[in-house]
């Protein structure tokens, strides 16, 4: 992939990330401020398609910086990322959400 396309995709990732950061910040803030608790936390395993160190680091940090999800550990064979998620309705939906949004965009930028 050419450098220009990669740079454009990088900016796209940055803006998508900022959007996601603001949206989920408000969601978490709402959860904190209102007396009822809507949170259904849990740890999900996300199978990784990203292989490079840079890609995994970038993906894990982006997930961690998004309120409502927090990457805890990469498995020893570097094929699974364990993510603590604050609002789980369906584990498979959350997994697909991370794979289709963050990981796809990270893949486009670094690999």
């Amino acid at each position: 992939m050419s450098k220009i396309v990669r740079t454009v995709k990088g900016f796209e990732l940055a803006f998508y990330f900022l959007y996601e950061l603001v949206i989920s910040s408000f969601r978490v803030a709402w959860e904190v401020v209102t007396p009822q608790s809507y949170s259904r936390p849990g740890i999900i395993a996300v199978p990784l398609d990203v292989r490079s160190d840079l890609g995994i680091t970038l993906l894990a940090n982006l997930i961690s910086l998004t309120p409502g999800s927090l990457s805890l550990e990469v498995s020893a064979d570097r094929r699974t990322l364990y993510v603590h998620v604050m609002f789980i309705d369906d584990a498979d939906v959350e997994r697909a959400n991370i794979k289709n949004n963050f990981e796809r965009r990270v893949l486009e930028v670094v690999e």
């Binding site: 950061l21 803030a29 904190v32 894990a60 961690s64 309120p67 498995s75 603590h84 604050m86």
Partner: protein
């Protein structure tokens, strides 16, 4: 005047997020949920306040310093959260009983003593 309004909005919203971070730290049920509320809301709030500083002091040297501070925070915050979270899980800090799913269970290297697994402790 418009710049003043932007600065004021950035400062107040940043301060509000910092306060929410503290509130979340006290109100949330377990250490993982506290980290969600605390680390990231505090980082976002501090980032907003630093952005306000960058807008207020309209000089390049200050803006670069504010930007450097934001970049440091954004790089270090997820690493710190990741390290605390991993340590907490490996130390078997119990999770809140409302936790719905733990797919990491059993993947942690086994301990020398036959202690109960994480899910057995948290699912009671």
């Amino acid at each position: 005047m418009i710049l003043d309004i932007i600065v004021a909005v950035l400062l107040v919203s940043g301060g509000a997020f910092c306060f929410v971070a503290g509130l979340g730290l006290v109100r949330m049920q377990d250490v993982y949920l506290r980290m969600h509320a605390a680390t990231k809301a505090a980082t976002l709030g501090t980032g907003l306040i630093l952005a306000g500083v960058a807008v207020y002091f309209a000089e390049v040297a200050t803006e670069i310093r504010a930007l450097i501070a934001i970049v440091f925070l954004v790089i270090t915050a997820p690493v710190a959260a990741h390290m605390i979270g991993r340590t907490a899980y490996k130390n078997r800090v119990p999770m809140w009983e409302g936790t719905t799913i733990d797919e990491w269970d059993g993947q942690v290297p086994p301990r020398a003593d036959p202690s109960p697994t994480h899910s057995e402790r948290t699912s009671k």
